[in-house]
Subunit: 386 residues, 4 copies
Amino acid sequence: MSEVNNLLEQYKNVRKHSVDLCANLQNEDYVVQPIVDVSPPKWHLGHTTWFFETFILKPNLNGYKEFDSQYNFVFNSYYETVGARVIRTDRGNLSRPSVSDVYTYRRHVDDNMFRFLDDNIDENLTELIVLGLNHEQQHQELLLTDIKYILGHNPLFPALKLSIPFNSLHNPRGTWESFKGGVNEMGFEGDGFCFDNERGRHKIYVEDFQINTSLVSNREYLDFISDRGYQDFRHWHAEGWEWLKTRNVRAPLYWHSIDSMWMNYTFDGLKGITPEEPVCHVSFYEASAFAAWKGVRLPTEAEWEIASERIHWGQRWEWTGSAYLPYPGFKKAPGAIGEYNGKFMVNQMVLRGASVATPQGHSRNTYRNFFHAPQQWQFTGIRLAE
Amino acid sequence: MSEVNNLLEQYKNVRKHSVDLCANLQNEDYVVQPIVDVSPPKWHLGHTTWFFETFILKPNLNGYKEFDSQYNFVFNSYYETVGARVIRTDRGNLSRPSVSDVYTYRRHVDDNMFRFLDDNIDENLTELIVLGLNHEQQHQELLLTDIKYILGHNPLFPALKLSIPFNSLHNPRGTWESFKGGVNEMGFEGDGFCFDNERGRHKIYVEDFQINTSLVSNREYLDFISDRGYQDFRHWHAEGWEWLKTRNVRAPLYWHSIDSMWMNYTFDGLKGITPEEPVCHVSFYEASAFAAWKGVRLPTEAEWEIASERIHWGQRWEWTGSAYLPYPGFKKAPGAIGEYNGKFMVNQMVLRGASVATPQGHSRNTYRNFFHAPQQWQFTGIRLAE
Amino acid sequence: MSEVNNLLEQYKNVRKHSVDLCANLQNEDYVVQPIVDVSPPKWHLGHTTWFFETFILKPNLNGYKEFDSQYNFVFNSYYETVGARVIRTDRGNLSRPSVSDVYTYRRHVDDNMFRFLDDNIDENLTELIVLGLNHEQQHQELLLTDIKYILGHNPLFPALKLSIPFNSLHNPRGTWESFKGGVNEMGFEGDGFCFDNERGRHKIYVEDFQINTSLVSNREYLDFISDRGYQDFRHWHAEGWEWLKTRNVRAPLYWHSIDSMWMNYTFDGLKGITPEEPVCHVSFYEASAFAAWKGVRLPTEAEWEIASERIHWGQRWEWTGSAYLPYPGFKKAPGAIGEYNGKFMVNQMVLRGASVATPQGHSRNTYRNFFHAPQQWQFTGIRLAE
Amino acid sequence: MSEVNNLLEQYKNVRKHSVDLCANLQNEDYVVQPIVDVSPPKWHLGHTTWFFETFILKPNLNGYKEFDSQYNFVFNSYYETVGARVIRTDRGNLSRPSVSDVYTYRRHVDDNMFRFLDDNIDENLTELIVLGLNHEQQHQELLLTDIKYILGHNPLFPALKLSIPFNSLHNPRGTWESFKGGVNEMGFEGDGFCFDNERGRHKIYVEDFQINTSLVSNREYLDFISDRGYQDFRHWHAEGWEWLKTRNVRAPLYWHSIDSMWMNYTFDGLKGITPEEPVCHVSFYEASAFAAWKGVRLPTEAEWEIASERIHWGQRWEWTGSAYLPYPGFKKAPGAIGEYNGKFMVNQMVLRGASVATPQGHSRNTYRNFFHAPQQWQFTGIRLAE
């Protein structure tokens, strides 16, 4: 969250941004769920709204009238505390509530939130509202990844005009930056917002290391493919090797070899590969195999955080070699909010940085993103260390 | 097909009926596919249109301009002859073509068909066009069954106002009608349209039999449930018993026990059971188990056809005890049209009659419908024989 | 059952034959279950014994001491009436009871049965004992099919010396034998043993037909393969086509293309194909596709039974084009014995005749064998009709 | 490996121990594979032998005659470098090679190894042979876990007389031992054998922590069950919660609630729970949920290693809160041996210590064992930290 002082303004800006992202969708694009990782766009719009209705308005706004009592069932995601939920694989089977109903729901909740935020300066709730806004920003990135998946897996490969700039920045050839080992600190400290998983700041010991100033480019990744990187088990984790054989993976997601030329789906439709852009939509298995092929490795999240002041980051979420685990002294918050992060701390890998799809001001150098090793559908890339 | 002499009028009527059935759908209802048996309504509208474009217009109308060459990929169902197809489970993941595009596609093909039917009295193609119309009528029934499934499995249980009368007729208490055995004939004979699987008329020997003049009612079926029919393996085929245990089936599809009362989803929303209505949405396993519990059996399709003059039929597709197999002398037609029926003649059961969802004039007493033994989502019911 | 008048002698002969079939097995061969269709040989030996213990000895022999009360759980197959059973896929996970314990169990039951059969001439039980013997003979064929599967899917392809002659008879080139249509009769009649599914004899009407006097040979089947029969969907049922693509089927079971030559696993190990032998281990899908490729069809079971006096049969179970359904007037017997056949009468195809693995005297021309359309592991072949 | 100086003696001792562990198995117990995690005992005996044949004898012993060239296919586990392998789920379907053949194979390889070890003092191979012996010791523990699984999932719950003492030591009530934070070192250092994943010794920073001197007992774990620990999602990781609901887990593996009393399967058969014994056969999910319920946590592997001098360990493998990842500077060895550990470093958790099933002298306080979070079949327990 950038330096906006007024909470109401922040609320309005964040909420508007979600709607803006969907500006050029066709109605039908809001509905489908091609894989379980993807949620229908209308679900994201409803779920982020449900957060404010459930945790702010219903317990705190006198006389608040729930929009529709069934929506809790439809738009709850995983908060076991709050009640029954539609099982995840079923989200794409729900034609109702309609897109139009979801927008009405948003306006209903927004109108009440405006009223609530005007009247209230109750400091105790500010923290929860800011959490809700950061939650919505996370779903803004998911909206983009999921819309891309929906359109990019349609045989018509439709383009989508986005209301936001969405180009990868220049990715100049990198150099190796050296860092001296020793006791360092990591984790969030300060006054602004952070998620519970970033706290508390603590000491760690790192060895001397080097990190590359640039992300791995498509050109470099094409070398890996040409060198038969996907055919040589020695670069891969055992389960990564199973994964690529079972699913017949030969390239990053959205890449298609057409008449012996690599094309890739973007929001502008099916296009040729841009060699100098950072490679995108790779799994942890692929990131790790690429590094092994190069004879180097991925950075740990500690190394990444130490190095973050001296590298340019923000085009791709960067896979680290660190598993997603609690920091020393981590405690879940009580109640439903406590389900936010802690319960996912097993069998996922940490990603650091941000991507072109991350809302401005949302990330920071202590931010801990996390996904499962095989997942490719996020805007994920590779930075090397050694 | 009712007694409309003019093919152009027939074409216009049938095509309009498909659109009429969808009149009150919301845009999102056209898109989803909750189970593999169900197709999204927009797919039905596109697929039936694709039939006329592919088999009539493209090969026969000079200068016909294909609407979109990609649509063959999207709207082909199972005609292996005609090219690649979207795998069946993926139909519900396609947000494009949009509903609006599909209606434009229909108009494009209809305009060309109108022109074609005006100019052409080529008798050779008439048969194929009539097949296309009967094909579309089959999909009209599927439109209703699939829309019902989509809305009936939504937690909001939305009602849908239909543009056609859709009430079950009165179902008076039945009597046993007796038939003398001997050599009889079955199969289609005459000038009108029939499917290839109804030909040719042939002799069969049947024993003396009795058939009930009425369909089994909800009241009778409730007795079966009350008598713990779903808990007693002795009534069931071994694989029916596996099916009900694995899927935890306790009642016909759309039935819900709410506060110890049986409700069922209809196009008017969630309603109480009407006792005297014929039971609907039962699988072959259930039909067969019910008959076993009664100490009787389902009729064979030969018995049904013989008895059809003396019984009232047309509210439910009636499961028979006959497997779907070729009649003596059955031959597939050459080319793609030959894929219509023959290749499904294994592991399915024959249903006879028609249902409230069957377009008027579409069925006849030699009509052979067929589904897999576990399928419940059609408007299927039970008639008893002994 | 051949013409042995004395029940005790029959019992001894049948029981001994099961043991003889396993004479050259290694201990470990008795234990495994590579696919769910196959049962471990020691299970067959125990299950057939359990039949006599459960249905004869326990209810009828005063003072009979059950061998082990847990065996009911282990050796029951599918008799829901009689109690819990080990789920089918788990049979191959049971190292105990050991092979030696199973043989002890057999001797325990046999000793008691000898005593029982000496003392008893109670006519009422004779029928049930004869059923038990026919049941054991069915498992004798399954023993051979399952042992072949176990050894034939071992990478060492071990040979097995059988204690019985097991060669295919000569299969001379066939001719087409013609039959005049009309009302005929089918089904069992007479004094000997038959299964409930063969009763009662009834009239059927058949059209004129021709049937081939020989089974389809390996040579003919190789022509089908060479003509790319497995690559042309037009010959196949839709679900047969799915089956072969999903499982990558290219030939009958046990055939291996090694250095461009077709070999096949037999009880003598891996051998070259004998061209004039009847093709074996084909599924219904394959039998049906082969017939379609030839432009003919499989016989119905009625035709087969009518023709059976004029054709030589007995080398392969012959797939018919008839689904396995009850004959007119079929009634299940009361109690556990009633579960024998009736509950399987859906989604299976009838096979007629017998195979080289069928115990001598076990089959007859009214015998109705039945398997699922994809199953290949029985000694199944193809006879053509038109 | 304990302090045996002579490599030949070591080899003889280790190899004999594997055979001793199987002394009282019945032949059939060697063959089955009830779940994919379990390997048939004869496979363990063959696979450990194959290691010496493949990596020592074939490349180094002049004139060595391979026992059977097919065995590479049967007994290779996961070494992609060395050639094709039987897929893991198929191990339990192989009746051949027989148990007797496997023992002959062991003797053949042992005889050659004896000869080889007598003649050779080639220092270069010593390391590889010691690796082979440690590899065999790992499989000795797996032999016990797998045999327990095979017998413990048999409805007859057979007991097995073991040739080794196999009792849990006394587990006195524990106290909390405190450790001061700061920079520490972890990892193997010194002359003896260690696995590549234990190298190299490196600095880590740890916070102040406390660790319990005892393992969690059955009594304490029963409290967790009684307090409805398996019914309260708040204690569990999200995927742990899915795991227990999907598989209906209510207790550690081998626990059975019989007439409202908890029993558990041991090598002595089905017995009552001993309250003061350390709880065994829990998954990481369970260990972690138990700790959360207690308001504490699992130790990290760094904490465990630091604390290892002051705690008694060795009855259960102790789940840590650390993911299995490479130590700083980890490099895979070249060739097949390099596949030993590195490729498994994703999505597994580290366990420290040893269990009653671990061969004497095999483990040490830097030893890193690792399993997947849901796995229960090892002798795993819980130690708490905070």
